[in-house]
């Protein structure tokens, strides 16, 4: 564990006489190794280490009786701070329906999240409408319809060959006409470098003016999370993220990378395949997980 590794380092350093700033660097290498193992982007890790070093020197860790423990606390607190102090709820519209748009790479869990969110809204007495705007993946509409049926939430869809932008526009109209409180747009997975598909998201945004755009991201992602989150953010200025597959044993360093590059809050985590497996994001738990 990180604190034990720090203690070992400090113990061996004490043997050499006074601990110096250069010695702190050895413990910081341990922090770096831990962060990289946890899939934090190496550039993000670099910046993070510098801030931790500043704190360590500022707090005079070297004079502490328990420098290892103190350093772990600095690292942990710095992580919690970066991951987003406290929980950020979803923005609701003053005048319904609230429009929530889900975006992200292929297979990250958007369709599942759509159903999970719909289920939560339904339970809270805010009747949702799901919109099946993925016209590319085989049986994507059927997938959302099956999920909708299982939670008794209506799903708006159009026949094969329809334009996803039009589907979203009509879906929001439908939500308004039928007095739904929330309308959730499930879009197709796409690459951040697919210009045509990213432009489709621009057009959906223009056609529906979402109150909340949620970037859905797989927590098992590696270094590239910074790239894809950055590109999606640059394009859409999304307002929040959802991390999925949190029930895996991935350390989830992608969370830090996404936070660092977009500055947007992580609002939920997906913790399983069932429709009830959605939880609010807890920065302190995430920090502990990243540090292993």
């Amino acid at each position: 564990r990180l604190s034990e590794r720090f203690d070992d380092i400090f113990r061996s350093l004490r043997g050499q006489g006074r601990i110096t700033e250069r010695n702190i660097d050895e413990t910081l290498r341990e922090v770096r190794r831990s962060l990289l193992e946890a899939d934090v982007n190496f550039k993000v890790a670099k910046g993070f280490i510098l801030r931790v070093k500043e704190q360590a020197l500022g707090q005079d860790v070297l004079k502490s009786l328990t420098p290892g423990q103190q350093l772990v606390k600095i690292v942990h607190d710095e992580l919690v701070g970066l991951l987003g102090g406290s929980n950020s709820p979803l923005k609701l519209a003053d005048l319904p329906p609230t429009v929530i748009m889900l975006v992200g790479l292929q297979g990250c869990g958007k369709t599942t999240i759509a159903a999970k969110l719909a289920s939560q809204f339904k339970e809270k007495g805010r009747p949702p409408l799901l919109v099946a705007a993925d016209m590319y993946r085989p049986a994507a509409v059927e997938q959302l319809q099956t999920l909708g049926t299982s939670i008794e939430v209506p799903v708006f869809s159009q026949p094969a060959g329809s334009d996803p932008v039009e589907i979203c526009r009509l879906g929001v109209d439908e939500a308004r006409k039928t007095n739904r409180s929330v309308v959730i747009l499930d879009t197709a997975g796409r690459l951040s470098i697919d210009e045509e598909m990213m432009h489709e998201l621009d057009r959906i945004l223009q056609a529906t003016s979402p109150h909340e755009i949620l970037f859905v991201a797989d927590c098992m992602q590696g270094q590239d999370a910074v790239e894809t989150a950055g590109r999606f953010y640059e394009r859409l200025a999304f307002s929040g993220c959802v991390l999925t597959k949190f029930d895996s044993d991935a350390r989830g360093g992608a969370a830090l990378s996404i936070r660092e590059v977009t500055g947007q809050p992580i609002k939920f985590v997906g913790t399983g395949e069932k429709v009830g497996d959605l939880e609010p994001f807890h920065p302190d738990r995430m920090a502990s997980r990243i540090l292993g």
């Binding site: 990289l36 790479l105 590319y136 059927e142 099956t146 999370a225 590109r231 029930d247």
Partner: protein, 284 residues
């Protein structure tokens, strides 16, 4: 992506290591590659500075992921089994169903009779999704009702494939996290069902890895290999920005090759793995 001067100084080394880490090779593998690079540069005379260093680096990585004879997945000609059975496994959303569809098309294009087993009986619309792929590939599909026992479907599918004189049976399974004991037990059961036919099945067990995977892919590989002996990987979504360098770490640790790569969502977006091309793309 690696800016280097004509001498390999500390900054250049750091840049190279950063590029390797950024490609998801992980700290250990990246360090090993850089150390090896330093040794080679000392022992070899390089006349063309930065280009020379890049060439050595690419060759090194290509060598690390090279496919031996046994590493190549047979995609045509005489197959080592009738039916030749390929079990497709992996975590949720990695691209198993899509890869199964693409692979089926590869075999039907080569004149093979293909059967696909729909062993994801759990996820919403998993079977309809695979049915569309089977149709695109010109393959038969063996399915049961939603919620059926996947091991029973696997058994029946191999039975049907044998009876129909199929050349290939592709077994698509449900996405599962390797840290879920009951799901890994289910996978063992599916494998046992295939083995019951005494045909040497499964001849191939491919772990499908998302190209965006981080270090968790190492744990995935270890755990899936425990449940059902893997013969290789299929690395998907390489048409994106991720480099998939994790497979270099995987090869180093488990000596299992990447046999296929997914480069898109269309039925023809599947390629046999090419180490040299992979290494080149890594540093592009």
């Amino acid at each position: 992506i690696v800016p280097i001067g004509t001498r390999l100084d500390d900054d250049a080394i750091d840049d190279i290591e950063a590029a390797l880490i950024g490609a998801d090779m992980g700290l250990e593998t990246s360090t090993e590659i850089v150390d090896e690079l330093r040794k080679r540069l000392r022992s070899e005379q390089l006349e063309d500075g930065p280009a020379g260093v890049m060439r050595v680096l690419e060759e090194q990585v290509a060598a690390m992921v090279a496919l031996g004879e046994e590493g190549v997945l047979p995609l045509e000609g005489v197959l080592p089994g009738k039916p030749y059975v390929v079990l497709i496994v992996g975590v949720n959303g990695a691209g198993k169903t899509t890869t199964a569809g693409k692979l089926a098309k590869r075999y039907t294009d080569a004149g093979k009779k293909v059967v696909i087993a729909a062993c994801d009986t759990f996820r919403a619309a998993a079977i309809p999704q695979l049915e569309i792929w089977a149709e695109r590939a010109g393959a038969d599909i063996v399915r049961a009702q939603h919620g059926a026992d996947p091991a029973a479907v696997a058994f029946d599918a191999l039975e049907a494939a044998k009876a129909r004189g199929a050349d290939v049976l592709l077994v698509d399974t449900a996405g599962r996290l390797h840290n879920k004991v009951n799901l890994m037990e289910e996978l063992k059961k599916i494998r046992r069902s295939l083995a019951k036919h005494d045909l040497g099945a499964p001849h191939e067990t491919l772990l499908v890895l998302d190209g965006t995977s981080g270090q968790n892919a190492l744990i995935q590989a270890r755990e899936f290999n425990q449940a059902t002996e893997l013969t290789g990987f299929a690395l998907t979504k390489l048409d994106g920005t991720a480099k998939g360098g994790i497979v270099v770490a995987l090869r180093r640790e488990m000596d299992l090759p990447v046999k296929l790569i997914g480069v898109g969502e269309g039925v023809d977006d599947l390629q046999p793995f090419d180490g040299a091309a992979f290494a080149k793309a890594l540093f592009a």
